[in-house]
């Protein structure tokens, strides 16, 4: 199996995120930096280190769908917004408002909204006009630390230390309405990923669950249990929904492949492979490439690895 090692961070790497063109990978770390890696002649080359925004760990990083913006969220409570100027990403604004550590940042599909979430239990939605970002809304629907956020078009989902998922939709009365889902995870929800109408959650209860988004609810389809012995920090669908991967504190990465579709049209996923000892320590994030079957992963052991599932 083909695997490339990307080594330059000086401390644990929290998250990796692909540029929508599938050629650039962003990573963020406790070393307070964001690094951009570009695929050139089958090799990843470090093309930029963004170190002028955060004074503490950078916990989350996300490209907008058009690639124009990059957002970063740090334990220094700051959300950084970076813009591509034709050659580099440049810091254009530092959004302040969170009361404590920012845990997640994410762009809506139309790039009009940036969401951030964190330990202050809130989700902030930011909008922008003439490249000037300002706060659109502060949502405090969770009872605890909000660990992750994920957009599906212009609907936002968040997962929390309170074991629940909350969905936010922009209502008729110009307010963000929310609905909470108790989805039977026994512990913190660490990640949410969405492919079409499928929603994948991973949890500190060592399970992952697949749901179907329908009629405004989350219908459980499959629970993945027994594959990991420690919290599963991250889950990611491949661009076509054929695979999803899970990364866990047990240092392993597991990959599941769609092997059947039931009579109701719901897919079933089966274990395809497990990368044992993928890393020396916790796997913090797994992220499938938006164009192919490259799987970017990162860990507490300071390393980033990109696996090619086709080889």
């Amino acid at each position: 199996m083909n695997c490339q090692l990307l080594k330059d961070h000086k401390e644990r790497v929290w998250q990796v995120a692909w540029h929508p063109n599938g050629q650039i990978l962003a990573s963020c770390s406790s070393d307070k930096t964001i690094k951009l890696w570009q695929l050139m002649n089958d090799q990843y080359k470090l093309i930029q280190t963004l170190d002028e925004c955060h004074t503490k760990s950078v916990r989350s990083v996300s490209f907008s769908k058009d690639g124009q913006f990059l957002a970063s969220g740090g334990f220094d409570t700051v959300v950084g917004v970076w813009m591509y100027d034709g050659s580099k990403y440049k810091l254009i604004q530092q959004l302040e408002g969170h009361e404590s550590e920012v845990k997640g940042v994410a762009w809506s599909a139309d790039s009009n909204y940036l969401a951030s979430c964190g330990r202050d239990k809130t989700v902030w939605i930011w909008d922008h006009e003439d490249l000037e970002f300002s706060c659109n809304c502060v949502l405090q629907a969770h009872d605890e630390d909000v660990k992750c956020i994920k957009w599906k078009d212009t609907t936002l989902y968040s997962g929390s230390y309170d074991n629940s998922v909350i969905r936010y939709t922009y209502g008729e009365d110009d307010e963000w309405d929310h609905k909470q889902f108790q989805i039977e995870h026994q512990s913190t929800i660490w990640s949410i990923d969405i492919f079409n109408k499928l929603l994948l959650t991973t949890s500190a209860d060592c399970t992952a669950k697949v749901f179907s988004i329908q009629d405004g609810t989350l219908k459980p389809i499959q629970t993945l249990q027994g594959f990991h012995k420690e919290p599963i920090y991250s889950g990611s669908f491949s661009y076509d929904g054929l695979y999803f991967a899970l990364g866990s504190a047990d240092n392993k990465i597991s990959v599941f492949k769609k092997d059947a579709i039931d009579e109701l049209g719901y897919p079933h996923y089966a274990l395809d492979q497990i990368f044992k000892d993928a890393f020396e320590f916790d796997v913090n994030c797994v992220a499938f490439n938006p164009k192919n079957y490259l799987l970017a992963t990162c860990s507490d052991d300071e390393n980033i690895k990109v696996f090619n599932l086709q080889l």
């Binding site: 302040e96 330990r119 239990k121």
Partner: protein, 406 residues
Amino acid sequence: MFSSTIKISSVSDYIVPSQECVKPLMRNVKLQLDDPSIQLKPNLIKNQNNVAKVSLQDCLACSGCVTTAETILIQTQSLEEFLQAIKKYQNPAIGISPQARASLSYVLNYTDSEMHSILHQIFQEMNVKLYDLAEYTKIAINNSIKEFKETNLTPLLCSECPGWVCYAEKTLDESIINHMSKVKSPQQIFGAIQKKNHDYLATIMPCYDKKLEAVRQENNEDINIVLSSREIEQFVKDYIQKANIIPQQVQLQTMAIQDQEYHNTSSNNYLDYIIKSVMMPNWTVKYNIRKNKDFIEITIYNENMESQGIYARVFGLKNIANLVSQIKTKTCKYKYVEIMACPLGCLNGGGQIQIQKNTEKAIDLIPKLKEIMISQKVQIDNQYQNEQEIYLTQFKHVKNENNFQW
């Protein structure tokens, strides 16, 4: 490698620092005591069960779990605690904020004046003297006007709201905290004045964060306990039923003004009085809604329509965040800003009695509460008196020495 998540959720008699608490370990105590610049020292005491106790001051100094702080508050500042305490004191008193009274009046279906007379009778039977905080609001406003006229700071930021104060101290640096008004809130002015006459002081407020304000070190426990309108609703209701209290008409005074469209009684009209104090004959006022109705800009013009300054009223965290961003980028053009953390202001405070969401939305409820605050009242004359004492407090950036967080 850090161990996987251990979730401590049950809170019994002891406050168990949650996983997120930044002061869960004794080693932090040592660290901090060695640093004289940090004044809010944690007071962690290990008991036999080896569980750390966290004081409210610790929680104020921490940006972590609100749950812990809330739990301590409920334990130490509850209605039960108040009812127990007043038996032990000779001469207790309680002050009610006009916003909290409006909430009670509306929900229990009395006029504001009837509600005040009912509360007066209830507390009288319990040997507690009832005060209307309107009189102390007047002092806070007059102090603010004096401060505004003497300061060189622009903008001067109203600091009555403890939600905003907590937020600012934890998340903003000194460059912004230095802009905050030093005038004590009506609650604390009430405490500073009436502690001479009473041995125990309570307040009824529209806001849970007023409890945090009361326990701030510089306030010297002037106010012993803060109850929210929501916390006393059931008690008042039950008392009226069993004691056969007859509501009476009493003449109430108010600082609330609502004669101009830009006026807003929700949070004590600080801005309106500041503007009034600088207006000259033939000057005019224009207001402008920025982004939403909780962010209002008011510009004063002289008789030649030349701008004499811009002021703002900013309610709610999202608008506060945008204001702070303006101040940081030095694009803020306001002279004075009335800031409150709750959307729609104090009448919509976190301690107010909740109306079932489906039956009445806050946006419809608040105008009714405003009407209650204004109606059948005698306007307090706020003529500034030079001999008036100035009541000042202090704010500072709270350093948050963070250890590792997930």
